[in-house]
């Protein structure tokens, strides 16, 4: 990989300026992404009523889902969908001519996008927090652990999706895998239900596979659902999967570019 942080930073700034031109488009996208967790929040909160489900009260469920909306927004890598277009449309050529890894180009839209989305999502989540009275059981540990968990979750989700998107170097319609990825995230990353509420088999799967560590885990951390052992195990799994994903990305990138330059864009 060709490190060129200076160029990358400049690109991020410029991309952000570009994206601000289309704010409303991104607001609509962000609105769409919020709908699913919102719906499931109301489903589980209603189900809980005045009792608890899997040890969670209504207020705790609301707190979990409001956090999840934010985490999902921050970690969702919409750019993974455009990498395939870059490759198929031949725009990858333009990026490969620069003395800088094309990953920076994707990172730039990724970070630029986050800022645009959050200007929309943050106020909504704050408003919902005032309206729905969630029960955040914030502790020093949960607050302190949340930020690294969130950063790792984003890195993991971004790189994992990027590596999958690089399949476009070989197959014309690699996007299908990204759709499968989104489905798995929905089921196993704590969107359809908090991991604690999943049936045993799914729960084991969720703990083993990488998806929970992309979305659900940071939300569980912040809302204090995990004990010390679970917290440590979560971080170990998150870091482990990130290492695996980094390796996957590097293999995919190296082979992909060789393949791309062998057949032409």
């Amino acid at each position: 990989m060709n490190h060129n942080h200076q160029g990358g930073l400049a690109l991020i700034r410029a991309t952000w300026l570009s994206w601000m031109q289309h704010r409303s488009f991104f607001f609509i996208l962000a609105f769409g992404w919020m709908m699913q967790p919102l719906i499931f929040m109301f489903v589980w909160a209603t189900a809980a009523g005045d009792q608890t489900i899997g040890g969670l009260t209504r207020g705790e469920i609301v707190a979990y889902y409001l956090t999840l909306i934010l985490v999902n927004q921050i970690t969702y890598s919409q750019t993974n969908w455009t990498v395939g277009d870059l490759i198929r449309g031949g725009d990858m050529n333009r990026l490969l001519l620069l003395p800088m890894s094309p990953l920076y180009n994707t990172l730039a839209s990724e970070l630029a996008g986050k800022v645009v989305y959050l200007t929309f999502v943050l106020p909504i989540v704050l408003l919902l927090t005032l309206l729905l009275k969630p029960a955040f059981n914030l502790t020093a540990v949960s607050l302190f652990a949340f930020l690294p968990a969130l950063l790792l979750a984003w890195l993991l989700r971004f790189l994992w999706g990027y590596a999958l998107a690089l399949l476009a170097f070989w197959a014309a319609r690699a996007d299908a895998l990204l759709a499968v990825q989104d489905a798995l995230v929905f089921l196993l990353a704590g969107q359809a239900a908090p991991t604690l509420l999943l049936p045993p088999l799914l729960r084991t799967l969720a703990v083993i596979l990488p998806f929970r560590y992309m979305v659900g885990f940071p939300a569980e951390v912040l809302t204090g659902q995990l004990n010390g052992t679970q917290l440590t195990a979560g971080f170990v799994a998150q870091i482990g999967w990130l290492a695996v994903t980094l390796l996957l990305y590097q293999v995919m990138w190296r082979r992909g570019v060789r393949q791309y330059t062998a057949v032409g864009g």
Partner: protein, 332 residues
Amino acid sequence: MNNAHIEVQNLSKTYRVPQRQSGLGAALRSLARREYTEVTAVSHLSFTIQPGEMVGFIGPNGAGKTTTLKMLAGLLHPTGGTAVIDGYIPWERQPDYLRRISMVLGNKSQMLWDIPPLDTFHVLGEIYGLDKTAWQQTVDELTAVLQMEDLLTKPVRNLSLGERMKCELVAALLHRPSVLFLDEPTLGLDVSMQRRLRQFIADTNRRTGATMILTSHYMADVAELCPRVILIHHGRLLYDGLLGQLSDQLAPFKLIRLTLDRDNGSADWRERLPEGTAVLNPDPANLTLRVPRRETSAITAYLLNTLPVVDLSVENPPLEAVIDQIYQEAAV
């Protein structure tokens, strides 16, 4: 000692293209077993280019020009042969090599679409790690020459094709590359914009001493910019030399222009023409004949003997006509 800036030897590129008939059945079969055909895009191409030279790549669509340029720019791996540019092997894609080259693609933009060109230039300055003063100086200089100061602050998507092409050229030259690949830089531009950009490219070549390879389907581009042309057809090199001598070497025919004495038995000139002669202009005052190159002298002698010739000249056909003939016949 070898001073060549670009040295290409036996460069070849064969694509493996998945082959399949149309229709659902064929699509399903190809899922199980793909069939490939090999397509030779470039075959054993060899040439050297000296520093500061400006060379035109010509050839019909699909001749292998762009494939060759892409290999030299490090975007494609060849299947055979070698290329060394400035001491680098292009497809190893070393950052130091990428910093030395630039490529302008007439049909692909490298400008960021939604923001003004100046912002893209800033980003490129950072990516190439240019010194602020040097960057400013280059931008000022190029925008002054191209008379585009007023474009710098408009979003790129609001620019016309010609205006955008000016931006592309500035973007490509910001880091002062020593090798510039220009793939159809005047594509789709009007005549006067073509002329201005051509002028700019020629000046840049003189001023910076950058080595340039240009492909274009507009012979005017090539004729005006490139003393030397490399003609590629079906991936093979057909001609490498001065543009002025291309007709001499490749045209399979010559033109004979005649003025006949009208008062003196020229009425039946048509019947007296030898075989293999085509009449391009039947006016006896300015008769133009096309004759096979090999028989030019024999036919000239014959015409002088049998017709009342007042004036006669033998010419090479116009370049465009020769090129057209080569493109169509493929065989030279």
